[in-house]
């Protein structure tokens, strides 16, 4: 099935507005366990999502059946579905636009022989085994993925996006006497030459051993520093609530807060989908060009995340956040989300705060937070900060707070920004009076 045939067949049925999206992906993954390549997986698949606007209603269907014969049945289904759908006001993007171009697909990645990738994971396993006798089980993996997106609509808008990346991962079980800990290390990039095995093993070993011999403190309120990976997780959840559709449905905490102070004046959150990095995206799922924008500036809410429909309801232009979610065009935040860093380097930042708890892992934020009100109470991992230095690991502790209050109460932000796997760039943030129980 291709877009042209689909659009022509719709036209014969007097349906003039429609969209076509095709995602093609191919990937392979390798896993080493106890000196054996115990798993190898590979695939190539295509997925087509089409929608049409019938009587102002958007109807959508997804198929993996790529034959042209399937189009007639699919169109019949769309027409039938439109009879039962109530929601009207669906829109299609018609404005001829300029799309930023950047080639972020790395052609070289696929040219490295698989053998080199297999040899590398064997080598990682070997070195980790050698690194410490307390590493009792080690599982090392390599994943490589190539994805291409194609978007077309009946108004002549056509965009494409193609990217690839690879991930090295290691799961290490550390055992000493009756104590068992687990550490996961990961490296993501799309340039194979950038993978440094020495550094990967060194970091994995360092972080894994740091987890041994944890202590517990008294349950009370502490000064807390969130590590960049934790800040990044909180930031993603926070920004997802800027979804204009949730605002319209009275389901977002940010309702009626546009141009008001919602966070500490230290907090500036921005998106850079057009930055020339691996996360580059030039259009959203309605073909609207993306843009680099401030979401929250010095604590003030500047905009919600819009698709064409919510933008119309708010009488603004879409800022390119349409995202396919289930059977509709919803709204999603982009990759390349940033929290603006502060001035102090990590060491100076810790020295300034002196004493507290450094939290470097939150467990189950996706399921454990009440998205309606931002409340959460989650198991976390961390270390004690004593006189500006990270000392002992902490075990079995719970942090209880509120997502929105966290960003309101940020007291300081560090300069060190780390690129996190979820495509969020975040520094450390510091808060005081955070409830921690053991």
């Amino acid at each position: 099935m291709n877009a042209k045939t689909f659009f022509l067949k719709l036209k014969k049925k007097k349906i003039n507005d429609a969209e076509y999206r095709c995602i093609t992906s191919s990937a392979f993954s390798l896993e080493v366990f106890k000196g054996e390549l115990n798993n190898y997986t590979t695939h190539t698949t295509s997925l087509i999502t089409v929608d049409a606007i019938i009587d102002g209603k958007l109807v959508m269907s997804t198929t993996e059946n790529l034959s042209n014969e399937s189009i007639d049945k699919l169109i019949e289904d769309l027409i039938e579905t439109s009879k039962y759908t109530h929601k009207k006001g669906a829109l299609i993007y018609k404005k001829k636009s300029k799309y930023e171009q950047y080639e972020h697909f790395n052609n070289k990645l696929g040219t490295y022989p698989i053998k080199k990738k297999i040899d590398t994971i064997f080598e990682i396993e070997k070195r980790l085994k050698k690194a410490d006798k307390r590493f009792t089980e080690i599982q090392v993996g390599y994943d490589e993925k190539e994805v291409s997106h194609e978007y077309q609509n009946t108004s002549g808008i056509k965009t494409t996006n193609k990217y690839n990346y690879y991930v090295f991962s290691a799961e290490i079980v550390i055992k000493e006497n009756d104590e068992t800990k687990v550490h996961n290390e990961m490296f993501i990039n799309n340039d194979f030459a950038k993978f440094n095995i020495d550094e990967f093993v060194k970091e994995a070993t360092k972080h894994a051993l740091k987890k041994l011999h944890p202590v517990q403190l008294k349950s009370k309120k502490y000064n807390v520093i969130f590590a960049p990976e934790v800040t990044a997780e909180l930031l993603s959840s926070y920004v997802s609530q800027l979804n204009a559709e949730l605002v319209l449905k009275n389901s977002s905490w940010f309702k009626n807060k546009l141009n008001k102070n919602v966070a500490s004046p230290l907090v500036t959150i921005f998106e850079s989908p057009l930055k020339h990095t691996i996360d580059f995206v030039n259009s959203d799922d309605q073909g609207v060009p993306t843009q680099n924008i401030d979401l929250i500036k010095n604590g003030k809410l500047k905009t919600y995340l819009h698709n064409l429909e919510t933008a119309k309801a708010f009488k603004v232009q879409s800022n390119g956040h349409a995202s396919l979610t289930g059977s509709k065009i919803g709204i999603g935040a982009h990759a390349a989300l940033f929290l603006k860093p502060g001035k102090l380097r990590r060491r100076d930042f810790f020295n300034k705060i002196k004493n507290g708890i450094y939290i470097n892992h939150l467990e189950g934020l996706h399921a454990g937070m009440n998205a309606q009100n931002g409340n959460f109470s989650l198991k976390c991992e961390g270390m004690i900060l004593e006189n500006g230095k990270i000392t002992k690991p902490l075990d079995m502790m719970t942090i209880s707070d509120n997502l929105f209050n966290i960003f309101k109460n940020v007291k300081d932000i560090s300069k060190n920004v780390e690129y996190i796997k979820s495509d969020v760039f975040a520094p450390c943030i510091y808060l005081n009076n955070v409830s921690i129980s053991f």
Binding site: E137, Q139, K328, N370, Q372, T398
Partner: protein
């Protein structure tokens, strides 16, 4: 569907470089959903998915590939790519296929897919009105149907050829409440592998909708949950998610065989739980959300007793990880779709009934937490450490359920919880959910009667319990 000649060709090609087992899995899935948001049909979605997964095993190595281009040329291309992972001589040839028949556990009448769309919308509309009528503080409702029907066909080099059909239908009932700056949400999601009769005749949808509305409104006045160690009474049904996460995953062969579980094989037939605990993983319960006629490598599902009176009796085992453990597969191998290599997974997992009544359990608790409904959570199967949020919880004072609390989290290790269960009720119930793991998201039921754990660490921001 795949013809036998092509299947045999593919399986034999897969065996040509020394694999000792090859398997071809074909799947065709159709999903349909209706989203009724705040009284209108916001969207109706459908999805067609068809594909093939090929698995080759050689000793303790597995190779898996999948594609949705299922003509001969592409399947040959895929299997040739897969077999290149091995480099020895052919050991075996594919046997002639023997058709194996499936015994259907569930009813096939009144399918969700045969129910007219307007009838389905009528149900959603009715539920929406019930919720909204309950309180003016309800500012949004979401009621939705989501159904999928799947046809699968499995061939393997041992001569197995089996076909099966399965359906899942789920009803999402969700209420959002608001009071000033306070926002809350409550939901219930009944689901079945049986017919629409489940929703219209077997369960009381009206009561469920009213309870959801009440729950969302009541939550607006909840106080912050106190923290610390305390006795916790866990409600029946959805409370079983704790056993699923904190213990069930540690009993899956994929973790046990690699020594990545607290319950290693040397602990079989030893005491790992309170004598009050007997637990099953049972994929054979009619209509239940985790029920299947056969698993995803073609074995009949079973009622597997995992723990009997506190003694560890068995694991859930699939073909691949069973090799490492030297144990036969027991119908516990599952996958989300052809896009996932199958592995050991749970089905309907529950702690069986005990002798106490729920009232006796509450009455005998002086000061503690009543976790009526659990929300999401996570577990590390290697250490057994878990954390769970409570979506509905109350403080128990002097044997009575008192104030509602919010933000409660249960934290501990699976083994600690199992050993500390000191009362088990007689009101076993099950709930539906999706379990995410190595082979994707699969529908599972979790269950238990009301039970009490004499001490769990509870996280919350309400200070010490008083």
């Amino acid at each position: 569907m795949i013809n036998k000649q092509l299947a045999k060709l593919i399986l034999n090609e897969g065996l040509s470089t020394g694999a000792d087992f090859s398997e071809l899995y074909f799947e065709e899935t159709y999903t349909h959903s209706i989203n009724f948001d705040n009284g209108i049909v916001e969207s109706i979605g459908s999805n067609n998915s068809t594909g093939v997964g090929i698995r080759l095993l050689k000793n303790n190595r597995s190779v898996y590939g999948y594609t949705n281009e299922i003509d001969k040329e592409n399947l040959l291309k895929l299997v040739k790519k897969l077999r290149s992972a091995f480099s020895s001589k052919r050991k075996i040839k594919c046997k002639d296929f023997k058709d194996k028949k499936v015994t259907n556990i569930n009813e096939n009448d009144e399918s969700y897919f045969l129910t007219p769309i307007n009838k389905r919308i009528e149900i959603l509309d009715k539920l929406t009105k019930i919720i909204k009528k309950e309180s003016k503080l309800i500012n949004r409702t979401v009621c939705a149907f989501a159904g999928d029907k799947k046809s699968i066909e499995i061939f393997n080099s041992e001569g197995l050829h089996i076909k099966d059909k399965k359906e899942h239908t789920r009803l999402i009932i969700q209420a959002f409440s608001v009071k000033g700056d306070k926002h809350e949400m409550a939901l219930n999601v009944p689901g079945t592998t049986g017919s629409m009769n489940y929703f219209t005749k077997k369960i009381n949808l009206e009561k469920i909708a009213k309870d959801v509305a009440k729950d969302a409104v009541e939550a607006l006045n909840a106080k912050d949950c106190p923290s610390g160690k305390m006795p916790v009474v866990i409600g029946n049904g959805v409370g079983g998610v704790l056993f699923h996460e904190a213990c069930g995953h540690s009993l899956e062969a994929c973790a046990v065989s690699k020594n990545l579980s607290t319950f290693t094989p040397n602990r079989l037939n030893t005491k790992i739980a309170s004598s009050l605990v007997t637990a099953y993983d049972d994929g054979t319960i009619k209509g239940r959300w985790g029920t299947n006629n056969i698993d995803d490598e073609g074995n009949k599902t079973t009622r597997n007793c995992l723990i009997k009176n506190g003694i560890l009796k068995n694991y859930m085992v699939d073909r691949f990880y069973g090799r490492r453990m030297k144990r036969d597969a027991n119908g516990s191998c599952r996958r989300q779709s052809y896009k996932f290599e199958p592995t050991t997974r749970m089905s309907n997992t529950y702690i069986d009934n005990g002798k106490s009544t729920p009232e006796e359990i509450i009455k005998s608790t002086k000061l503690g937490l009543y976790a009526k409904r659990l929300g999401g959570g996570s577990v590390n199967p290697i250490t057994g450490q878990f954390e769970f949020s409570c979506s509905t919880a109350y403080i128990i004072r002097n044997g009575k359920i008192c104030e509602r609390v919010k933000g409660a989290t249960l934290i501990g290790t699976g083994e600690e919880i199992l050993k500390n269960i000191d009362m088990v009720g007689n009101d076993l119930d099950m709930d539906t959910g999706y379990c995410g793991s190595a082979s994707g998201w699969v529908p599972v039921a979790t269950g238990q009667p009301t039970l009490r754990v004499k001490e769990i660490t509870v996280g919350g921001s309400g200070g010490k319990i008083q």
